[in-house]
Amino acid sequence: MHHVVPKATYYHVSVWLAVLLALTVAAAQFDLGGWNVPLALAIAIAKATLIVLFFMHVRYGSPLLKLFAAGGFLWLLIMFAFIAADVLTRAPIGSG
């Protein structure tokens, strides 16, 4: 009835998570200018994706489930995007 994920898959994913964690810490030791934050986020997203797909079984789920799993993050992006649209375009008081 339900897909049983092999233990090996879980161990495999865990190794990758550990590698990505080490990468996270290592990357923070270098000053990459404006790229530090996107890099840290990209690694975090990679970890989160592994957890969602394998530990949370979304890889083996229905399309509806995948939609629900993605939905919250998508909506969060809307909030980020429009707040950014305000904050990034504010002019200093007294100008224009």
Binding site: M1, A28, F55, M56, G61, W75
Partner: protein, 237 residues
């Protein structure tokens, strides 16, 4: 009489429907959690964009190794949780109880480390509110004025000017984010304890493991929140 129908609620037609409903329901709840935490992340993003130097100062006051160990502990607990679900799926009651137990243990270690960190922060007077003060013995970052224009007052520091008020903002986010996260951990552990008791009674099997699975989803989500918190709070360099 199959054991699966013993757990079938009266308003569902079959176990399959009940299981699907439980899964969808938990994912919807997790979506609400994404937005709940997300509001805090949005605020964090705004202030980090505006006050980068203050956030660097704040982040340096956190112990990166404790944070890293905690991250590893939580990732391990996700593994044990996934294995617990798998054990329930394969009707392995002992395995289920054992792996749930490991998850509780690892989660508790996480909370223990966090408690230690909080205590330390309180002693360092970095808790926002009346307690907050940036000065510390031997610490060069002792700014008497709060308007952030004091680089000339303390030319020894490499950092560009920042305001202690902004650093206090950083710590507001630190405590709000990790505090909310820890609250979710506590609730998660409480649910896991209930599940361990049920697992030892042989409640779960291949026909009925839904509570373990959906608790697993919740647990993994809380882990994911931390996966984002760690670099964003501890690793601003």
């Amino acid at each position: 009489m199959s054991s699966s129908t013993a757990h079938l609620a009266h308003h569902f037609d079959d176990v399959e429907q009940q299981y699907d409903a439980a899964q969808l329901g938990m994912w919807l709840f997790l979506a609400t959690e994404v937005l709940f935490f997300g509001g805090l992340f949005a605020g964090y993003a705004l202030y980090r964009y505006w006050y980068p130097e203050a956030f660097v100062v704040g982040s340096h006051r956190l112990d990166l190794w404790l944070g890293g160990i905690n991250t590893a502990v939580l990732l391990a607990s996700s593994l044990t949780m996934a294995l617990a679900v798998r054990a329930a799926q394969t009707s392995d009651s002992r395995g289920t109880a054992n792996f749930l137990g490991w998850t509780i243990l690892l989660g508790s270690v996480f909370l223990g480390v966090k408690a230690y960190e909080y205590h330390h922060k309180f002693e360092e007077r970095l808790v926002p509110g009346r307690n907050f003060s940036l000065s510390e013995k031997g610490d060069k970052s002792n700014f008497p004025d709060r308007d952030g224009s004091s680089s000339t007052a303390n030319g020894k520091l490499d950092l560009s000017p920042f305001s202690p008020g902004h650093v206090e903002l950083f710590f507001s986010f630190y405590f709000a984010l990790t505090g909310l996260h820890a609250t979710h951990m506590v609730i998660g552990i409480a649910i896991l304890v209930v599940l361990v008791v049920a697992a030892r009674r042989g409640t779960f099997s291949a026909d009925y493991f839904t509570p373990v699975e959906i608790t697993g989803l919740y647990w993994h989500f809380v882990d994911i929140v931390w996966v984002f918190l760690f670099p964003l709070l501890y690793l601003i360099r």
